[in-house]
Symmetry: C2
Subunit: 582 residues, 2 copies
């Protein structure tokens, strides 16, 4: 490609609403252009990146035996009503009425449609397994679209769906996809982690997220540097402490802590570590009567160490709290504790509550908690002496740095990531809802066992930039760069030898299959280099008259701080080696 | 590809709502699957065709210097309000409200969005010309979606938009695209015509449709077998007859024609050719007053030969009738003619009307028309004697077979076609509406000169099938076939030599870059052949045990009525020659 035949439109300044590096740099590099909130044009430079991401995903999906098809962007509501998602999903599901007043949705994913196709077209276990995928436009009507392609409304996703005859076969399909995803992410050339994720009601450990590592990532990734263990924060287990509980050494005391309603304030006042305090969280669950109204509510008191955070996913898996818990109302709290939040604890309750204790709290001695009297905390609290031994003990908290790794092989570390892929074993959730069956080898109808597998095609470039950029601009990995090599001739209009040499190298690189762009715009070197550094082309070759006379050209990788001289005659061979072509 | 790894799902019967061959065959061959009215899944077999069409279009657009980008499917209404299309377009424009109640549309085309991009990003004539294209999902909410992909609601279109500094430069861009379209349609391997089309208010002849010839086509194409002339019916000129008008030979007579209110009935009653009769069409135009209400209406009487049809596009270009004409109301007709329709004519008018005469009528002698008295016609009518010589004479009718070709090189013929592409010079229609300007070389802002260029990516396969099918199924041209070659081993499970030979040929063809599918499903030959003939793979190779023992395999092109024997050792070379690879 010659730059004069392409469209390059860089900006000095990022627009004010671009808050993160990838959004700012994609706008400045002319890769995307905002059309509306969370809706972007993919400009020619940006589309090249998207197409390269697509091509890698397509190749590896095909190699893994998945079959490409394409489902409509605009889908009739009927199928979504069959699974209940039409009603269950919030306003992020964009709903449409057509000219006849019929309901439609703009697809955010396509479980319903693929299940509908399969229940019509696959009749026998002999036709299984099958895995179908599409690379298609999706829409999610985010309340606050932001961060450019990171959290847009319209986006491109690769979504795949596997259909199998048994849970075992479905798990094999899942594993096949999990491996294909590793190959895909390896090829992108990004640092990433495949992390165990929560698989919700289905259970098991067949859910993994593919996270691109970036300090600006929205997700916390918990991993063990000494082993392969990695999970997202929702999933990462906090093991029970291995040290036994210490013997009590302090007397139980009601201690005045006026205006100190947080653990941190209390710890500071009492000159204790925050980890010696215990916080009280009050939850409630409702039982519904036959008419659907609330027949009975149960109040729960959760105790967590002052320096730990509750993990809602883990709490939601405790029998009795399963998913439907809520925070207790102020009225419920006062009714049971006789006190306002800030000084709550397990002492002197007005009405019984269900006590649920985090594993770490269960092994504490001489701890501090609220006294259920405003302005007072209890200090020197000890299980067995001041309170009965806890009956319900569980992992209720987020993992923290230094926790023992669940695989027993070291200590946990935490870094941040951007979720760009997800593989998920679905079981029969959708096939049951849509009565999608095949005839098993016993001649009886069985529900399809399903898995679903997504990659955020347009999110990936943003994640790549969050991971790879500097003050000058983007730094693309070779595999997804809009162009792999840029040739920058200096004043080719004045120096015919520069024009000849750069045209020749351009032709040679094209012939070698290199995705090269020749900057024939006759820009000044400074402006030219600034453009390409902003755009982030990994390999730059500068061809100048003085260098040519000395027999060399200049090469600079986008990560290099300076250029190096390469003998003109060696340029092609040098670049082929750099690009892994020789 | 091996068939066992792919998804083949053929049907014996087409669904009842599939009315035309392409719809029936795409459904039966498992290429598409209906999701809702006018909304289809592209199944794996069908998507391969779509992707091949896309690839050819993309390659040739790139070669022609167009630059690929991608605009959103869901577009904010604001830009559509700027050009007025948000209000002007009917319910075929699918409108959406998002969660905040803001208006959006699903793009049917993208003139507004690309013009918005360009008015921001192109500032100087030095950046011109530019041509941007996208291959993207579109939606048109047809009242009666039907014929499968031929008139669907959701479809994929390639739309390109050129931007130029002057009408001359824009016309050069237009010509460049018109040539690229010829290369694209040549590569598809279909019989097609590029026909002149009406360019509306812009005038000139810079509008061409690319029509795939098919007897089932919705459009009539007028062409000259002796020359290059081709136009669509709206556009094709009916020249003035070259023969002079004959002298009057009959007396003007008021003739009773009771209950004969059509030209055909009158001609039959009077035993005359239909071409000796003249029909009267009454139109009206309205002038609006300052308050927008109708201030004054003008009634027009159009005279056309009884065997000719009015061409609304041509009539709409007559000064005074320009586009805003309507058919006169019954009240207007009775007020001016004193008679009901069926016996109308230019005689004995109660109020004056504007008389507009078709070129053919102007040279008629001794003709017949209504007498403006119910049950009577005038016969022996002659210009100059019974009526003044006509003042307004124009081409008002559709061309018919046998008309002289407008290029003077022969007689016109008519065939039917399916419009799959359109190139159009837009002028400044959109740039003016959206105030999109650049700085000209005189330093002054100028409106961009635009062109737009579409190809119906998903309509093309349907058009290809309308042109190329037989009672057994589809017949794909090589370039867009889902697979170019199918290998059909007969009972490879029983005959190891069959399996070995077909596996080897499969590997050899793959290595030669041939898009081949090996049918390893172990189907019976009859079912296997029926599937591939329905699906329409152009080249089939059958490998059987008996043939192998005799040293041959069987080859059959989809258009052949029988197979021919090829020496086994020559199979690869034979196929490479057939496919133009050797």
């Amino acid at each position: 490609m010659k730059a004069s035949q392409f469209f390059i439109s860089t900006l000095k300044e990022a627009p004010a609403d671009a808050e993160i590096a990838s959004h700012q740099l994609m706008m400045r590099a002319g890769m995307i252009k905002k059309l509306g909130a969370g809706i972007y044009n993919y400009m020619p430079m940006g589309l090249r990146v998207v197409r390269k991401v697509e091509a890698i995903v397509r190749e590896e999906m095909n190699k893994a035996g998945a079959i490409e098809m394409s489902m409509p962007v605009i889908q009739p509501a009927e199928l979504w009503q069959e699974t209940g998602r039409f009603e269950q999903m919030g306003p992020e599901l964009l709903r449409i009425k057509d000219r006849h007043g019929r309901d439609f949705v703009v697809q955010p994913t396509s479980e319903e449609v693929i299940t509908d196709v399969i229940r019509q077209d696959i009749r026998s276990y002999k036709q299984l397994p099958k895995n179908f995928y599409q690379i298609q436009t999706k829409f999610r009507d985010e309340r606050r679209p932001r961060f450019g392609l990171m959290r847009g409304r319209e986006f491109i996703m690769k979504d795949a769906y596997s259909f199998d005859r048994s849970p075992e076969a479905a798990k094999a399909s899942y594993k096949n996809m999990a491996q294909a995803y590793r190959r895909i992410f390896d090829r992108f050339g990004l640092r990433y982690r495949a992390v165990a994720a929560d698989s919700g009601a289905i259970g098991g450990d067949l859910s993994e997220e593919f996270q691109v590592i970036a300090s600006t990532g929205e997700d916390a990734i918990v991993y063990c540097p000494q082993s392969d263990y990695a999970a997202n924060m929702e999933k990462a287990e906090a093991l029970a402490p291995s040290q036994p509980r210490l013997e009590p050494s302090l007397a139980l005391t009601k201690t005045a802590t006026p205006d100190k309603s947080t653990c941190a304030d209390v710890a500071a006042l009492l000159d204790m570590p925050l980890s010696a305090t215990v916080k009280s969280l009050v939850l409630a669950t409702d039982q519904l009567g036959e008419d659907g109204s609330i027949a009975k509510s149960t109040v729960w008191l959760l105790l967590l160490r002052g320096d730990h955070d509750m993990n809602e996913i883990k709490v939601g898996k405790i029998p009795g709290l399963d998913k439907s818990f809520r925070f207790a109302t102020l009225t419920e709290i006062e009714e049971h504790f006789g006190c306002k939040p800030g000084y709550l604890g397990p002492f002197n309750l007005l009405k019984p509550v269900t006590l649920l204790v985090d594993r770490d709290v269960a092994v504490m001695a001489d701890w501090v908690c609220g006294a259920n009297v405003e302005g007072f905390h209890m200090t020197g609290v000890n299980w067995g002496r001041d309170l009965p031994e806890p009956a319900l003990v569980a992992d209720l908290r987020n993992a923290v740095v230094g926790d023992a790794s669940p695989d027993g092989k070291g200590e946990l570390a935490i870094e941040r990531g951007i979720e760009v892929g997800h593989v998920f074993y679905l079981g029969t959730k959708y096939s049951r809802a849509m009565n999608a069956t095949f005839l098993g080898d016993n001649g009886k109808p069985q529900f399809f066992e399903m898995g679903c597998y997504g990659i955020g095609i347009t999110r990936l470039p943003a994640a790549a930039i969050e991971q790879n950029h500097d003050e000058r601009g983007i730094i693309w990995p070779d595999a997804i760069a809009p162009f792999t090599v840029v040739l920058c001739p200096i004043s080719p209009d004045r120096f015919p030898d520069v024009k000849t040499a750069s045209d020749q190298l351009y032709a040679d690189l094209l012939a070698a299959g290199v995705d090269v762009i020749l900057d024939d715009r006759n820009e000044r070197p400074g402006a030219m280099f600034a453009d390409w550094e902003l755009i982030g082309i990994p390999h730059r070759v500068t061809i100048g008259d003085r260098g040519l006379k000395d027999g060399h050209i200049e090469y600079q990788h986008r990560r290099d701080s300076a250029s190096s001289q390469i003998a003109s005659g060696e340029a092609l061979a040098f670049l082929k080696t750099k690009l892994g072509l020789a």
